[in-house]
Symmetry: C2
Subunit: 502 residues, 2 copies
């Protein structure tokens, strides 16, 4: 307990230190629980585990609001006891996903920049009842120093009647000072977000709270349950190469500064591979304004290529996390964490001129993107921040392998089975086959470029055939479709196990 | 000619006054022509008519970039001679629409806030070659005083090598001072748009140009070809009543200030009816931050209900235009025109907390919206600014009649045939039947509320049946769909002339 007490700097506050079980006991059925955490980084662990134990016995449900996905001690534990009525705004957990797709958990899939303000506005079904926030420390003034993510924590703390702080001793105290906490006023009093460079500091290094507002303090030493990244395969390498070549030409054409513009990169192995690939690019003095800091960013920092990275969470692989902790005294000079409302803000994305890079589950020939649903019905993860960045970036790029399931699925289809990003939002598509630059093109022009440059040869003739027949059938209409056939590729896959014609 | 000369205040510049034919002769085949105009307001007339005559004889095409739709002297004349290769970013002209849907004109349908920056970035296929801008006057310094719209004029003038100014003597000089022209710097040098209240003035009352940059000045006296609005019918009245009741409850629940927040309203008869309906509402001291100032706004000003309206164009009915000109000395104190890049900016929409109100062609049970395509293939008008506001508003509302074509079309369908706004973007749906408040709901929850509150009774059982069977067929998946049936309502309409089952 000595370590805990060192981290609770206000002596009077130490009387609020309780066990996880004691803290979890304050939660009532049906409450809205707002927690820290964005990807498996900085989420509370001890109290959720204790809450799950309680739910197993008492059988009730709560609503869980987070920054984004969180680790197994929160999503996993509450899924196992079926303790969640409604989950928002994002998830990546197998057990949660199964419940969502069995109608046993309601899931509201939101743009990640919308969540904090919608919770403050009271638009999500009441306000946050209990905030549970992981912290490195509590200051003398009772303010909360976050850990490896910031997410929606500050807004949840601001709105909640009950605040539980988990002091996580596995999180190094050197994280203090890496956060820039800024909660905008709500309309009609909101002011400009005064960020004009990626490293501008506009807020406080802690979440404002005050000693009176803290209900309980709970010690915890469970580390972030980060996951390994997939090895970088040839397809990911090819996409990275295509991107570099494309950006080199943008610079040559005068459409991009030599050091590019701030990079945003989605979460996951392909996104990480693309960022890592920039180590071997000619670009220097790069900057990042993104959601999640992954291993690739450390590669860029170590290579001397990256001047500064702003995000809302640090979520490397297990090896990457060690590397981050070991190099913390250097990395902390080049990394800043912001609330996701600011990291993902349309205002800053458009002002800074972000290069938005995200991955698609599928895209269609006219340039729409499905980011969320498998075969139009089953939720995979959620839209996350892709919409925040795609709509507002300087240049919006979506990556996808041209095929999936060993070629039985074409990632490029006649019509998406679900739509998260529309034809109005996307500039460039990249698959391992090549680049489709669709800026300024009409739907039929886009279709030809996407089929020619991005589709897999196994599916190119089928896509061309659909486009040609649809064009003829509609008298060359603006967006040719044969509605009875538009979703038939998905239906065929579900019937036969392949989108290919037998 | 005396009148024209009075409006060209720099004596030396008067030597650049030429005929429309002379000015049109400078345009070369394949050029990108960027014009003023946003809806049939403030677009150039004389030079486009002369250009159309030239194209009739010489047979060539140009690309036409505008603010949004424009009047018949521009879109109509250039459609008639098939003189447009590519049109962007929006249109509402019958002849243009026919060419687009016959593959004879390429059309790029863009978010209206994106156009100016994409044109400056060089993302639309080169830069603007010729800017043709309607003006009230040219100042002593050679700057351009716009007329009834601002649109993308300032950016087009900034980028173009050739600038043609049409001095329109039908536009009263009292319009001078109503504009607030601000062109943001491009990344990485962009700064916050410093608007924090709807009436904040941040720029100049003219488009910066300078005498050297003006190539030709052409006199014109053709008035804006504005169109009558449809009479306000019972369905529109019902929607307006539903909205007022909904907003009253938002105030009561503490989710909205008493004088609401700045209103944005789409273009057209339903939007106008909704705004007019507010005259008989209890709301006072209203403000507007929108694209187009229509008759309804004058009703609100005259009723003493509207403190200030910011837009990018003034496009009343023919009677409304007379009313506006006659009352100009008063209206000009309460109306300001901004570039559409600012009027529609995500930054200001989110900061000011706009109530975004737009109309849908169709919506589906899960809360996606089609704003652009008839039966998924034919372009109607375009997305316009609906996406700019819907994504970033404080509260996002879409209006639609529950049925169309005398009941043979249900505006609420199992799956949209085209997607412009997704489930992630919309808070509330209003039809003449009622209000579906879908904030914070999961897809299946949304479906039930939309079917119950908004669908027409003729289609409610069919929609419920689809939802029930899809839920069963997918094992209660997140977004239940039967893909082979999802678009069958549209296919049935095209085959039988009705979405109803025989």
């Amino acid at each position: 307990m000595i370590d805990i007490k060192d981290r609770v700097r206000n002596a009077a506050l130490r009387s609020k230190i309780v066990s996880a079980e004691e803290a979890a006991a304050i939660i009532k059925p049906g409450m809205n629980i707002g927690t820290s955490g964005f990807t498996p980084a900085g989420y509370p662990k001890a109290v959720p585990l204790a809450l799950a134990e309680r739910i197993k016995k008492e059988k009730f449900k709560v609503n869980l609001w987070t920054g984004a996905s969180v680790g197994k001690e929160l999503d996993g534990a509450l899924a196992e006891c079926e303790g969640i009525q409604k989950r928002l705004p994002y998830q990546t957990n197998d057990a949660i996903r199964k419940l969502i797709n069995a109608g046993k958990m309601q899931y509201t899939d939101l743009h990640l920049s919308h969540v904090a303000q919608m919770s403050r506005y009271g638009f999500l079904g009441g306000k946050v009842d209990v905030a549970i926030v992981e912290a490195c420390a509590i200051t003398e003034e009772g303010h909360i120093v976050p850990t490896t993510s910031l997410g929606n924590s500050a807004s949840f703390v601001q709105s909640a009647d009950i605040v539980i702080v988990e002091i996580n001793t596995s999180q190094p105290l050197e994280l203090e000072g890496m956060h820039d906490v800024y909660v905008p006023l709500d309309p009609p009093n909101r002011l400009p977000v005064p960020i004009v460079k990626v490293d501008d500091r506009i807020g406080t290094p802690y979440i404002e709270c005050g000693p009176d507002k803290i209900t309980y303090i709970v010690p915890c030493d469970i580390p972030d349950y980060v996951r390994p990244l997939a090895a970088i395969d040839d397809d990911a390498k090819a996409m990275s190469q295509h991107l570099i070549k494309f950006l080199e030409n943008e610079i040559k054409q005068g459409r991009m500064p030599k050091n590019l513009l701030p990079l945003q990169s989605g979460v996951g192995s392909v996104a990480n591979a693309v960022i890592s690939g920039l180590v071997d690019s000619p670009f220097e003095n790069l900057t990042v304004f993104t959601e999640v800091i992954q291993d690739g960013m450390f590669d860029l920092i170590d290579a001397g290529k990256l001047d500064f990275a702003s995000g809302t969470s640090i979520t490397p692989s297990p090896d990457g996390l060690k590397r981050f902790y070991n190099g913390l005294s250097d990395y902390r000079k080049k990394i800043m964490l912001r609330p996701q409302e600011i990291a993902n803000s349309p205002e800053t994305a458009r002002r800074l001129g972000i290069i938005a890079m995200n991955t698609a589950i599928e895209l269609d020939i006219y340039g729409h993107v499905n980011s969320t649903h498998i075969m139009g019905t089953k939720m995979m993860n959620g839209i996350g921040g892709s919409g925040d960045f795609a709509r507002n970036g300087y240049l919006t790029i979506f990556f996808s392998n041209s095929i999936a399931k060993n070629g039985d699925i074409s990632s490029i289809v006649p019509m998406c089975s679900h739509f998260d990003h529309t034809e109005h939002d996307i500039d460039v598509f990249v698959t391992e086959r090549g680049v489709a630059d669709v800026r300024g093109l009409s739907p039929k022009e886009r279709a030809q470029v996407i089929i020619d440059n991005c589709a897999h040869p196994d599916y190119q003739p089928m896509l061309q055939d659909y486009l040609d027949r649809a064009t003829k059938a509609t008298g060359n209409a603006h967006t040719p479709h044969i509605l009875s056939e538009a979703l038939s590729w998905h239906a065929r896959f579900m019937e036969t196990g392949s989108m290919k014609l037998k």
